[in-house]
């Protein structure tokens, strides 16, 4: 099974055997390194992996753009793709053009510091969201003009909700 894997943004080619009926370790080849891995699910998104005698444990959660995988206290952002399937116009969208600023966590909009049409600088504070009693200032990722502010001061927002568009 050939797969394309992005690890913290770096592309890697992986070939991993299917699980066998008898539970034998699965042969793999990762960027030319060959080996056998005994990969056992031990819970939802939790895997115990034996590489030879070496034990590892991986905890997998949905991440921003694929999986967030923790092994040995280190976190890796990993996206896995089956190259036989159509790529869905993936990952990094155009960095130019309008930029949507989204709420990084659920919370309340306590302050909107700009208006639609206002010219802003890169790094300028635009909006303040409060969650768990902490105020979090959202800054402009680039110089431009505020195109839209689809939220209201005092309103609640969920994670990922668009707060502001800068073009």
């Amino acid at each position: 099974m050939k797969l394309t894997v992005h690890v913290n943004g770096v592309e890697r080619q992986l070939d991993l055997d299917k699980p066998s009926e008898s539970g034998e370790p699965r042969a793999f080849s990762l960027e030319g390194i060959e080996g056998h891995a005994d990969i056992q699910a031990i819970g939802p998104g939790m895997y115990s992996i034996l590489l030879g005698a070496r034990c590892f444990e991986a905890k997998i959660e949905k991440g921003d753009n694929g999986y967030s995988v923790v092994v040995g206290g280190q976190r890796f952002d990993i996206a896995v793709r089956d190259p036989r399937k159509l790529s869905r116009g993936s990952a990094a969208a155009a960095e130019t053009g309008p930029r949507k600023l989204t709420a990084p966590m659920p919370g309340k909009v306590v302050r909107i510091m700009v208006e639609e049409g206002q010219v802003v600088e890169s790094g300028q504070g635009l909006i303040v969201v409060e969650a768990m009693k902490m105020l979090n200032e959202i800054k402009s990722p680039k110089a431009g003009v505020v195109k839209a502010i689809p939220v209201k001061q005092g309103g609640s927002v969920s994670a990922g909700q668009v707060l502001l568009v800068v073009e």
Partner: protein
């Protein structure tokens, strides 16, 4: 002794207080906001009373609703925990008027210590050293700038009613004063319902050391040793330990420090458990910072080295019993260290990470304690403090305690939300932390200079890739991890069933 105690709090501290009440055979009453119906403290209590909507101002900070709950359930005492109404003199007074015992000091002692400016005056009078600063709340930026010019930069702006790092802002120059003041006032207002902010000289490279005291209502005061709380982020403690590795080397400093704490408590006519906080500079000079007139978040480390249950002692004192222990009975042994586990993402500048805990595996084993208000399947609400657990380890030596904590952190897994577990794994592996050479600025410096842990990184990456690939192949849904789909399936089933009825 009381018969029934109402706990005017939520989260881990409410759960922890209920545990002691249960051991003392005292009935317990939990109070809960609409966001907390299924919170752990409600599950553990004998009785529970709804006290309003999610915002704390309308529930956990409502004196009226909490006293109504006490009346309707017949509670004869109230434990305020920490935060919320715990340092609110009006609440302590209202309890007294309602004939319900407030488990804490008198309203007048709270008021005295609650106003940081008045407390400073009192301490100066009692001969306890204080940091230079203003004795009155600041009216505006101009006044603040004038005061700062007199004291000398850098200065620290602090909520007069505050504590716990909220409403604190550093200003290194006159230009920074207006923004810092506005932020501090806004946070102070949000957190404590009081925008008053005062100013202190910022001590460079300070250590935060505090002394736990116990005072009964008959005039006896003892101390239970010091705690080192210099590991802070955004002026919020994140790791505490006892003894302080810094004070441990200087028995004569400990002697003076603990004596000052007892003087402070006596000067305030203090009773019940309390904590006197000090800043200590690199020359071991210490300054009174504030007195926390309630149980401290980090009280477990003191419990472990003394063998005491501080909540039990608080209840006994409030019931009018004299202290059972004399100063000579307190012989702390070993080292205890606590990590505050927050629902925050250390990889995203510690953004709050509320949400559903889809999986929870807590460490246990020799000399490991976890105090928590969380459980698997519970949703951490967005409305309150992000502290979800305190992980504590004890060992005969500091070195062994660190090793124990490291192992426990490795076994600690919270799925569905992000936490600071990984952050502590980094800190506890840092040579400066392990040698005890740190001050309150340590974490900010460490964050800037830390290198990614490259220990076994290649092997870890290989394992991570293989697991991710196996996960991808086994469910074919890269965008949703299995646990989340399960959790939603469960919720969905519940909703469907409700519609079906």
């Amino acid at each position: 002794m009381f018969r029934k105690i109402l706990i005017a709090n939520r989260g881990e501290i409410a759960a922890r207080i209920i545990r002691t009440c249960r051991e003392m055979d005292l009935a317990t009453v939990a109070v809960f906001s609409e966001a907390d119906r299924t919170a752990l403290h409600v599950r553990l209590a004998d009785e529970a009373v709804a006290i309003g909507p999610a915002p704390a101002a309308q529930s956990y900070l409502s004196i009226e609703r909490i006293l109504d709950a006490a009346r309707s359930t017949g509670a004869d005492a109230i434990h305020p925990g920490y935060g919320f109404l715990s340092e609110n003199a009006a609440f302590a007074g209202a309890c007294k008027s309602a004939g319900v015992k407030f488990i804490g000091p008198s309203a007048s002692a709270i008021e005295l210590m609650g106003s940081k400016t008045r407390a400073r005056q009192l301490m100066q009078a009692a001969g306890v050293p204080v940091v230079p600063g203003t004795s009155e709340p600041l009216a505006d930026a101009a006044q603040a700038q004038a005061a700062a010019n007199e004291i000398g930069y850098p200065v620290m702006l602090k909520a007069a009613a505050g504590g716990g790092g909220k409403g604190m802002r550093l200003a290194a120059s006159a230009e920074e004063i207006p923004a810092a003041l506005e932020r501090a006032q806004q946070e102070a207002l949000n957190a404590f319902g009081d925008a008053a902010v005062y100013m202190e000289k910022a001590i460079v490279g300070p250590r935060h050391v505090e002394v736990q005291i116990l005072a009964d209502e008959h005039g006896s005061v003892i101390h239970l040793g010091e705690r080192e709380c210099s590991l802070q982020r955004r002026h919020q403690k994140v790791l505490e330990e006892t003894p302080s590795p810094w004070v441990e080397q200087r028995p004569e400093v400990r002697q003076r420090l603990t004596a000052a704490a007892i003087e402070a408590a006596q000067a305030a006519g203090y009773s019940n458990a309390g904590t006197v906080e000090f800043l200590m500079d690199s020359g071991h000079n210490f300054y009174f910072l504030e007195m926390n007139t309630r149980l401290q978040v980090e009280h477990p480390v003191t419990e472990w080295v003394t063998g005491l249950d501080l909540v039990r002692e608080q209840i006994r004192i409030a019931a009018g019993e004299p202290l059972r222990l004399q100063q000579s009975d307190i012989r702390p042994h070993g080292c205890a260290m606590e990590c505050r586990i927050y629902a925050e993402d250390p990889y995203k500048n510690y953004l709050p990470s509320p949400g559903l805990i889809s999986r929870l595996d807590r460490p246990s084993g020799p000399y490991i304690r976890v105090d928590s208000g969380a459980y698997e399947g519970w949703t951490v609400p967005i409305d309150y403090d992000p502290l979800i657990a305190k992980l504590v380890a004890w060992a005969p030596t500091r070195e062994e305690a660190i090793a124990r904590l490291r192992g426990a952190l490795r076994e600690y897994h919270v799925g569905g939300i992000k936490t600071t577990i990984g952050f502590f794994q980094g800190v506890l592996a840092d040579p400066d932390f392990c040698s005890g050479a740190f001050d309150t600025g340590y974490i900010e410096r460490w964050q800037r200079t830390r290198k990614a842990d490259s220990n076994g990184a290649a092997e870890h990456e290989q394992a991570a890739v293989l697991a991710a690939a196996a996960h991808f192949l086994s469910n074919g849904r890269p965008k949703e991890s299995r646990q989340q789909s399960e959790a939603s399936a469960w919720k969905l089933a519940g909703r469907r069933a409700m519609l079906r009825e």
